[in-house]
Point group: C2
Chain length 261, copies 2
């Protein structure tokens, strides 16, 4: 079972890329982020034509997540359960989370807030969101379940995961509080499936559009597939498919694929 994650930066604009890639790689599940469209405008027919179901949680202009799957997703959950929240506003104004069960695996697809600059209001929101997400996991799942949490985390786990750690030091994507939040999530019971198989530095899943960052390979590894303990033995490999980033008018992210036996 192959599960992929891809921040497509508009599913409308990237539709030809996503279709082409699905046909070439035939993953079983693909988690999309930044679809940037409402559920009504999601191009589900195009995906249906090549054999993919779609469960979507979109909004206009910003964010939006979706799960594509060869077999239909069950028990789809969109966003946090707002009823339990008190002051904190994690309602569906920002569509950043969708979860569903596919072939016995609970797939949780997240688009973690970017955080803008360290110390900014958006940064604080990012940390609060990660905290709220940990609570979501704790309250909804058990450690014995087969869970895959994947998506755009906007966090580079350690210094191997950014092109120039010295230049990035302390800034958003690598700051200690963000990395700690990710670590806490892992401590609950998740493993970065990419790092199970690859210890080397300089593997990236995102390159800023600006100043030729892709050409210079000035990227970061911020898209992850985390797997629960029960899936570790099934993890064959997790790899980053750089190809789509080379295509015409690409997303700034490229897919990450986790292969589970």
């Amino acid at each position: 079972m192959n599960i992929a994650t891809w921040n497509v930066n508009s599913v409308t604009v990237r539709l030809p890329h996503v279709l082409r890639w699905l046909i070439e790689r035939t993953p079983d599940v693909v988690c999309l982020q930044e679809i940037k469209c409402t559920d009504e405008r999601f191009p589900r027919e195009a995906f249906a034509e090549i054999g993919y179901h779609a469960a979507t949680h979109g909004q206009r202009t910003y964010n939006g997540v979706a799960i594509l799957s060869r077999t239909e997703a069950r028990d789809v959950v969109r966003g946090f359960d707002v009823s339990g929240d008190d002051e904190d506003d994690f309602s569906d104004v920002q569509a950043r989370l969708i979860a569903a069960t596919i072939e016995g695996v609970r797939v949780v697809n997240v688009y973690v807030p970017n955080g803008a600059r360290v110390g900014s209001e958006k940064y604080v929101y990012k940390l609060r969101w990660l905290e709220r997400f940990k609570t979501f996991i704790e309250t909804n799942y058990g450690r014995d379940e087969n869970i895959v949490v994947c998506g755009d985390f906007n966090i580079a786990p350690d210094d191997r995961d950014v092109h120039n750690p010295a230049a990035w030091a302390g800034s958003v994507l690598v700051s200690e509080p963000e990395r700690e939040a990710l670590d806490e999530l892992k401590e609950w019971g998740f493993t970065d499936s990419f790092r199970l198989h690859e210890k080397q530095a300089e593997y990236f899943s995102w390159w800023d559009y600006r100043s030729g960052d892709f050409r210079r390979n000035a990227g970061a590894r911020i898209d992850h597939v985390l797997i629960s303990d029960g899936l570790i033995s099934r993890s064959v490999k997790t790899w980053i498919d750089v190809e789509p980033r080379r295509w015409e008018r690409p997303s700034d992210h490229t897919p990450v694929i986790a292969e589970l036996a």
Copy 2:
């Protein structure tokens, strides 16, 4: 000598179309309207590579005219001579006129104001602009000169030149004051070179993007090549090349080509 006119609705967006068309038709001169870019941003290198010089009079966002030519244009004039104007503001805030001499022919390229709705402020400006243009011709040229005035006039000369004259009656593009203004220009000493050779109705150079007007051939002939008396005997034919309007992401106008022996 072939002289063409084409409202391209953004030379930036239409560049591939214009290049393709120049290579296919090899006109000697092309007058472009609505280039919608400043002179600095005009893609002159792309035209130079296929053997065309460019004289431009652009502005950002709106309007903008240019003359492409195989041999270099001489005595380029941009806009009306403002110094002579009193109250009337026909300064270069709206780039609608460029003139130059090519191979002994004075080529005057105009983008006449659209006029919005009859009676509107923009309609009044259109009529004033046409009046000012007649003065420009009178004061700058002699009837013995070889002059070609071409461009987007936003005027359909008579009822043969609109798809549904009854529906259009009295509205902008066909209203009597506009047609009269065009007639007065002709009376100074110009002939509609298209009508020298073709008397039939339903030849159009523009079709609104909306409501499938092109598919229904619901267009108008508002792009013209007017020639001075001395050129009448050299006029072989003037024809409308509908092809580019069929291409992907076309301009709403298509080129008109005047062939001069």
